[in-house]
Amino acid sequence: MFFVHLWLPKAHVEAPLPGSMILAGVLLKLGGYGLVRIFKLFSCSLFSFRGWFFCVGLVGGAYVCVICLGQVDLKALVAYSSVSHIGMLVGGLMRFSLAGLKGGILMLVTHGLTSSCMFLALFLFYCRRFSRSVFSIKSLLWLNPLLAFWWFLLISLNMGVPPSLGFFSEVLVLVGVLSVWYFHFFMCFFMLVLVGFYNIYLFVSVGHGVGGHGVRLLQVLAREHLSVFLHVAPSFGLVFFFVLLCWFL
């Protein structure tokens, strides 16, 4: 959310890798869990304020996406991306409907997997190049094509490309938000588009560009590939789990 999570990037850029991964993957989701637990209790009192929550969640999310486009520290960019996704979660939850609730929970699950994996993939760079700046991290498509492929999958998961879990969560949240008033699409549209924009910006700044001086082919160990794979695979695989769940419900 825009106002209350702006401390997050400052904490992420100072934290070590496991701290960042746990903070983005688990701890942020505890906030969402708390919201889901108490929102039945406070639904009567919060109901009249839901417009404010839509505004702060979705328009603030769009502003955070614009902030992302101006980042030079890639770890701060990934941290800001989780701020914008939490905004979308709040927008879905404050509808107090089944579609919004399920969409918010799905958003938590898929974003927990992708953001922690993005921190991991950044750390693989940081070990080898000792920098997180966009000016230093470049030309991954040439240096290590398999890692570039992982990055491509990660940004497509983060921007919600259709067969992945993020797409379903975005659609369910949108069904929740648009059912209040159709003209809420003014708020959702900029957020949806800008999420795609900064993800593409992230992929271009990481994967593309001429490497410059002192470039070696990056050697990435099998266990590092495995740990990235084990983050990426559930985000696609959980779709099938979700389908089975819906069939049996």
């Binding site: 579609a99 490309v161 259709p162 975005e170 159709y182 549209f189 949806l192 593409i200 271009v204």
Partner: protein, 195 residues
């Protein structure tokens, strides 16, 4: 309206494919791309004739809708649907003809490229996304094809590493994403108005 003649086409296709696979298995790295390009190029040109045959014979005046429901939750029903009629088959016949020619052409044009494998893979994904977009029978399948087309064309445009390529690629993918935002809003709105 019998689907029986299609069986002979599939039989022929699998025979040619099996023969090509046998040749691919026992060849060196230099001939590898030659055989792959041979297989893909002739495969797509074969697919062109197959589509033309289909919409002239079996699909003349009728169409088939394959609908696969993926999930349904609180009134939100999402699934794949593919529509095979003379319009989509006519479109795809031209797509497959042109992409078959492109596969042949890229062997002469980019045969010395180091990353030939990646180029062939991305080109194949591009044609596959176009196929999904053409044969799509509902909004969700259209979005799968649209997003795949945008991202894969972006990868194709930035294949060479220079700043002007990045500019063109970003222009492509940002416009695609703009359309994708409208698609998402429209897609969600369908569930609310029931259209």
């Amino acid at each position: 309206m019998s689907l029986l003649p299609l069986g002979w086409f599939f039989f022929l296709f699998f025979c040619v494919g099996f023969y090509s696979l046998l040749k691919i298995v026992g060849c060196g790295p230099k001939e590898f791309y030659y055989h792959i390009v041979f297989l893909l190029g002739w495969g797509f040109i074969f697919l062109h004739f197959f589509c033309v045959f289909c919409f002239l014979s079996t699909f003349y005046g009728c169409g088939y809708l394959v609908d696969i429901l993926v999930f349904s939750l609180g009134g939100v029903e999402i699934g794949f649907a593919f529509l095979f009629d003379w319009v989509s088959l006519g479109f795809f016949s031209f797509i497959s003809l042109i992409s078959g020619i492109v596969f042949f052409y890229c062997f002469f044009y980019m045969g010395e490229d180091v990353l030939m494998k990646r180029f062939l893979l991305v080109l194949f994904l591009f044609v596959g996304s176009m196929g999904i977009l053409v044969f799509s029978g509902n909004m969700f399948t259209t979005m799968v094809g649209w997003d795949g087309l945008g991202l894969v064309s972006f990868i194709l445009v930035i294949y060479y590493q220079s700043l002007s390529r990045v500019d063109s690629g970003l222009l492509t993918v940002y416009r695609n994403r703009l359309g994708d935002g409208f698609f998402l809003i429209r897609f969600s709105w369908y569930f609310l108005v029931g259209a």
